[in-house]
Amino acid sequence: MAYKAKIRVTLRPSILDVQGKAAQHALANLGYTSVESVRIGKYMEVSINEQSADQAGRVCTEICQKLLSNPVMEDFTFELEPVN
């Protein structure tokens, strides 16, 4: 069974996101002064072929911990959906 994992990797809240800050300043220059902060992260789509959603979820957690995110500076979340 194929599953699609939609993974979001974001910088931990304690870490300064210079990219987000630059985007926020640009938005302020455009007149969007109500935008108080911007945090930029990564979005990934991964296809996983496993027997069950549980197993696919385990694989997804593992790959996020090992490679797709760095726990020192990033957090990750994901959603799984079956693909026909």
Binding site: I15, V18, Q19, L67, N70, V72
Partner: protein
């Protein structure tokens, strides 16, 4: 120094490998050997250097993919036996991604890629990489990086400081670790750290680019010299 073999790892995207080879080869009796990322052996290396560059295009995170290349399994095994490993710039990023060193290197606070001369202070000259320097000595060594902002949890920083693992700090020419001297925003002005066992060093500045007077500084030379002397047992 007699018969020292130094492995220099070449990842796709490494670009300081040949500069490092040149600097290493300038020491009599020291033989550089290039190690391709897909190699499975260190070809008799007595020490291993992970050079600067953009391994795997810096995809995902700097150093994150290089860390899983076949040669890194050998390097990690080598390091776990207490053998010396030196990571320069991207090599430092690979070392933190691999867990051989603690913390992480993120984008410079000023967002820019910074290519310039830097001044760093030798905070700990009691390592195999720095015993050729005086403690507190200020060195002129170039930097060239976009992600050199060293971060770690407060507990990790405290432990690094407590165990003398902070080896180099960005300072001004007088050796003051000021905010202005900390051009990339690193916690505690940290420019280089060593692991607890003392055999793995990572630093953002490029000692190979400061290894002869023609390059404007030879302050980086003694880092290699200290290491090779230690490896040769003299």
């Amino acid at each position: 120094m007699a018969d020292v073999t130094v492995g220099i790892v070449v990842f796709p995207g490494s670009n300081c490998d040949h500069d490092t080879e040149y600097a290493v080869a300038s020491f009599p009796g020291v033989r550089p050997v290039m190690l391709w990322h897909n190699d499975h052996d260190l070809k008799g290396s007595d020490a291993v250097i992970l050079p600067g560059g953009f391994s795997y295009g810096d995809y995902l995170r700097c150093g994150s993919i290089a860390r899983f290349s076949p040669i890194m399994r050998e390097v990690m095994d080598f390091a776990s036996k207490g053998r010396p490993v030196l990571g320069i710039c991207n090599g430092f990023q690979v070392l933190v991604e691999s867990g051989l060193l603690e913390g992480a290197l993120i984008r410079n606070t000023g967002k820019k890629f910074i290519c310039s001369q830097s001044t760093i202070k030798v905070v700990n000259n009691g390592t195999i990489f720095t015993d050729g320097y005086r403690e507190g000595e200020v060195l002129r060594i170039p930097v060239a990086h976009g992600e050199g902002n060293y971060i770690a949890s407060p507990e990790t920083i405290e432990s690094l400081e407590e165990h003398g693992q902070v080896v180099f700090r960005y300072t001004d020419a007088e050796g003051r670790a000021s905010e202005e001297a900390n051009f990339n925003g690193s916690l505690g002005n940290i420019a280089g750290i060593v692991n607890r066992a003392g055999n793995v060093l990572g630093l953002m500045p490029h000692p190979e680019r400061a290894s002869e007077q023609l390059l404007g500084s030879e302050d980086g030379r003694r880092l290699f010299e200290s290491l090779f002397r230690h490896v040769a047992g003299v």
